[in-house]
């Protein structure tokens, strides 16, 4: 599998997918067409799903709109399915100190997870 790198913009996150199974999503997410923006990422995720490496996902999102919430929810859903099928999946959800909104989303999404190791991590400053 080839790695994937999508450069971040003011309204779309930076996305990295490594063949080793490490995914990182960081920045802001409020594209005009959220489905079109995330499609290549979900295609890439399908390749990783078919592989056998453990998965590690790092979220460092600062802001996302309500359309992106649904996409993130679907992503968590897929990670949980993988975990339930015996894949080792770990998720780190980073939020900035004082940012209750992003923290609460992390808590909310993690409620979907039973077979994934989830960590909520505060970034200072």
């Amino acid at each position: 599998m080839e790695a994937m790198f999508v450069e971040g913009t003011e309204s779309t996150p930076e996305i990295r997918v490594e063949a080793s199974g490490t995914i990182s999503i960081s920045g802001e997410s409020f594209p005009e067409n959220v489905t079109a923006f995330y499609q290549p990422f979900f295609d890439k995720l399908a390749e990783l799903e078919a592989a056998e490496t453990p998965l590690h996902v790092d979220f460092r999102l600062i802001y996302f709109n309500s359309s992106s919430v649904k996409v993130l929810f679907n992503l968590f859903d897929r990670l949980e399915s993988l975990g339930a099928n015996g894949r080792q999946v770990t998720v780190n959800w980073h939020y900035q100190e004082d940012d209750d909104t992003i923290m609460e989303f992390g808590e909310e999404f993690s409620e979907e997870l039973e077979h994934v190791t989830f960590q909520l991590l505060e970034t200072k400053g």
Binding site: N65, S66, K70
Partner: protein
């Protein structure tokens, strides 16, 4: 516009604590440009960082609603690059000392009943009920009429510090004017 009228408009905006006012066609590009300005404005203010983020969040939801649903369009339905007309006002209300984000746009008569029901229901909800509805909506399949996640108004209600306010007034010609306000 005559200078006297321009002055009136300016004075009114000052009285209402207006920080930003836009009336015309919105696109994702306008949203990005104005969004940047709002971020800078709040960074330079002596405000709690999260207040600025909340204003920004509600602004994005309202503008994306206009871009997707306003009845007055320059471009028609498109996957990307849609431009639709509306008005957005961001300000700090002098009396309440609270920030507000308001918008106005035309909606088709056929969309009125659904919008009205949805928003009236939101107005009856307290914080916990809003969070609960949000959680449920997040898990649902997206509604057919919705171009986003159908979570936009719930997101605004969840972020706002007071119940949302709105009116829908008939304008003739198959459309209503939709006016909407939320306090941060």
């Amino acid at each position: 516009m005559e200078f006297a009228k321009m002055n009136e408009l300016r004075n009114l905006a000052n009285q209402e604590g207006v920080i930003f006012f836009y009336n015309g066609y919105f696109s994702q590009k306008v949203l990005l440009a104005v969004g940047d300005t709002i971020k800078l404005k709040f960074q330079s203010e002596d405000e709690d960082r999260m207040t600025g983020k909340k204003v920004f969040s509600i602004f994005v939801e309202q503008v994306q609603n206009i871009i997707r649903y306003s009845n007055d369009t320059l471009t028609g339905d498109k996957e990307e690059g849609e431009m639709r007309a509306g008005m957005v006002v961001i300000g700090k209300e002098p009396a309440r000392k609270k920030y507000y984000v308001s918008c106005a746009n035309y909606v088709s008569d056929s969309a009125v009943a659904r919008l009205k029901n949805k928003l009236e229901e939101l107005q009856t909800m307290d914080r916990d009920a809003i969070k609960k509805a949000y959680r449920e909506k997040m898990r649902e399949e997206t509604e057919e009429e919705s171009k986003g996640a159908g979570l936009g108004f719930l997101e605004i209600a969840k972020t706002a510090s007071e119940p949302i306010e709105f009116i829908l007034q008939p304008e003739g010609g198959g459309k209503h004017l939709f006016l909407f306000k939320s306090y941060i």
